[in-house]
Amino acid sequence: MSCSEKYVAYMHEYLDEEISTEHEKELKEHLLKCPECQKHFQELEKSLALVKSIAHVTTSDDFTLNVMNRLPKEKKKVGFQRWLRHHPLLTAASLFLVLMVGSLFSSWNTGHNLSVSKQPNLIVKNDTVIVPEGEVVKGDVVVRNGSLRIDGQIDGNVTVINGTVINGEKYLASAGDVTGEIEEINVIFEWVWYHLKNMAKEAINFFEESEQSQGVTAFLW
């Protein structure tokens, strides 16, 4: 291949798609009259076509999974954040619960002072609230951080938080008269439970009221 050095260089320029128009013209003219160079060029093109023909192999289906399994573990924080993003409702609900219980805990811990619901005829003595004999207390009585002695009558429910109902015969009708329920709350979980129950009751009341008012409006219509 004596003549070829120059033309082989042109061939590679051509294959790199970087050949100038003059070189291309020169190469074409030369290929027409030189069978040796023609053969060389055809062999080049053939080998490249063969190489290109074996492209397009594909991996196994579980390739990505295998890679993902071999990656170093991601930070927990991110996994948690992604979980939060994907479960907004659960996130909101659990956040609500945490705040709820937290606030109840703190309100349990604060205020060790005696407090009592405001009814005019209740008497407060030290940390004991007394329902005097012969008196009728209207409405629910709530005593916090103190005891309740019932000598008279209560027309409603009794709740004593962090204290006791003092009377030899508590819970009996003769312990003065209580028309509603008597409840003593001394443990924090009871306290939480009590609040949740209250909230549920209020919610039910609210719905019942709105239903009633709807009923009324419907009736008026």
């Binding site: 590679h12 492209a55 192999v57």
Partner: protein, 187 residues
């Protein structure tokens, strides 16, 4: 597609591992093919391709987001394969001639597991021949030829992937083509 890849990379940078799965999905065949043609062995190639993706993930913080991700990924894969080729002891090849026989290779001693239609056998044999001839190329020519003719990348991209001047890439491609011409002209 580049926009999707960039977005996923940013998510990965924030630590979201799942975003990486999509990147793997996009490039897995390309990277596997590169490794397969460089190494000539499916099993080894799959291992190397996985390793390339894992290295890319571990070092993703050092990737410049303004550059092309594929270039960076191919560079990792190519370097891994070149390392592997250099380390590998060429002690046992199926296509090595069995001593004392005339032109018999180990291939002829491996029973084929199923009877295939003749055409298929022929095309598989042709593919194997081509693969073997590519594998015979010196590694410095093999990488440029595979990147150019199997992965169909531009000379510019190849020079970036191999971190080598464009002139060097061209010289290697020219020599690689001449070597292939010699090896494949009688196929």
């Amino acid at each position: 597609m580049d926009a999707i890849v960039k977005k996923r990379i940013k998510q990965v940078l924030k630590g979201d591992q799942n975003a990486y799965a999509e990147i793997v999905e996009i490039y897995k065949d390309k990277v596997f093919q590169l490794c397969f043609r460089m190494l000539g062995n499916r099993h080894e190639a799959e291992d190397m391709a996985q390793e390339a993706f894992i290295r890319a993930y571990v070092n993703i913080a050092s990737f410049n987001i303004d550059l092309k991700f594929s270039t960076w990924l191919y560079r990792i894969a190519t370097n891994l394969c070149i390392d592997r080729i250099r380390k590998k002891k060429p002690d046992f090849y199926l296509d090595a001639e069995v001593s004392g026989t005339d032109g018999l290779t180990m291939y002829s001693q491996v029973p084929s597991d199923s009877a295939l239609p003749e055409e298929e056998v022929e095309s598989i044999e042709l593919h194997e021949t081509i693969q073997r001839e590519i594998a015979k190329l010196p590694e410095k020519y093999r990488s440029v030829i595979v990147l150019k003719y199997i992965e169909e990348l531009s000379l510019n991209e190849i020079s970036k992937i191999l971190d080598m001047p464009l002139g060097t890439v061209k010289t290697r491609i020219h020599r690689g083509r001449e070597a292939l011409r010699h090896q494949l002209r009688n196929v």
